[in-house]
Symmetry: C2
Subunit: 138 residues, 2 copies
């Protein structure tokens, strides 16, 4: 994410992970020479390691380029982290997908509809390994 | 590291880790608003995770502030990585220390002498879990 709004939302995600005890590193901004094929956010807590590509939209769909997803998968595999695409639609929470479960268009790019995110995406607690169900019944 | 030379040497270290199959992320530069208490380099290969504070010097001693080392230890513990201080003296290889083995001065800061680094520091292969000894005898 590179816009000012995207930057703010990415910091929101960093802070959420920080608040639940993760060590979190953001990649240098996209314009930087040191940005190779890096995820937006890298987080770990000694048990779970997450490489996250973060996307926000004021519309009802979010698109990712094929290369973006391939780079995420490649980095996550090398580093030893779970690859995740985090999507944030206006006035909604963050939802997360394993890239292998994303819909790929004929052009090779990936598309996430807002409805799909709310129905099928993992919420923040699932992302960090806490079952929401368990929370409610405990 | 923030100087141009420091930046070049930090990239050297990133490339070395990259070459042996690690996923590597550099923290945003020190001047950035997003640089909280982050290590210079974060690397993983699915087995070993490393949080590295990198220091270079043209002299015979390298100093680290107490806070710098505390931040490294704290981040590494949260993230689930091995904390390491990497030192690079002119015309020498990189050597690495677990911060707990560094000499602390009366003022609380840490000091690494070049001679100590060459004698007692772990070399790059030890850092990444390959015993140099094993390499030679294999």
């Amino acid at each position: 994410m590179s816009s000012r709004k995207g930057d703010r939302l990415e910091r929101e995600l960093v802070n959420m992970l920080d608040d639940v005890g993760f060590g979190v590193l953001r990649a240098p901004s996209s314009g930087s020479a040191t940005k190779r094929e890096l995820p937006d956010v890298l987080a770990g807590n000694g048990e779970i390691y997450l490489a996250i590509e973060a996307k926000a939209s004021g519309r009802n769909r979010i698109y990712l380029e094929e290369e973006e997803v391939e780079n995420l998968l490649s980095f996550a595999e090398r580093f030893g982290a779970r690859p995740r695409v985090g999507v944030r639609f206006d006035r909604e929470d963050w939802f997360f997908f394993n890239p292998v479960n994303l819909y790929q268009t004929d052009s090779g790019n990936y598309r996430i509809k807002k409805e799909k995110a709310l129905n099928d995406g993992a919420d923040f607690y699932e992302l960090i390994g806490i079952s929401q169900q368990a929370e409610l019944t405990d």
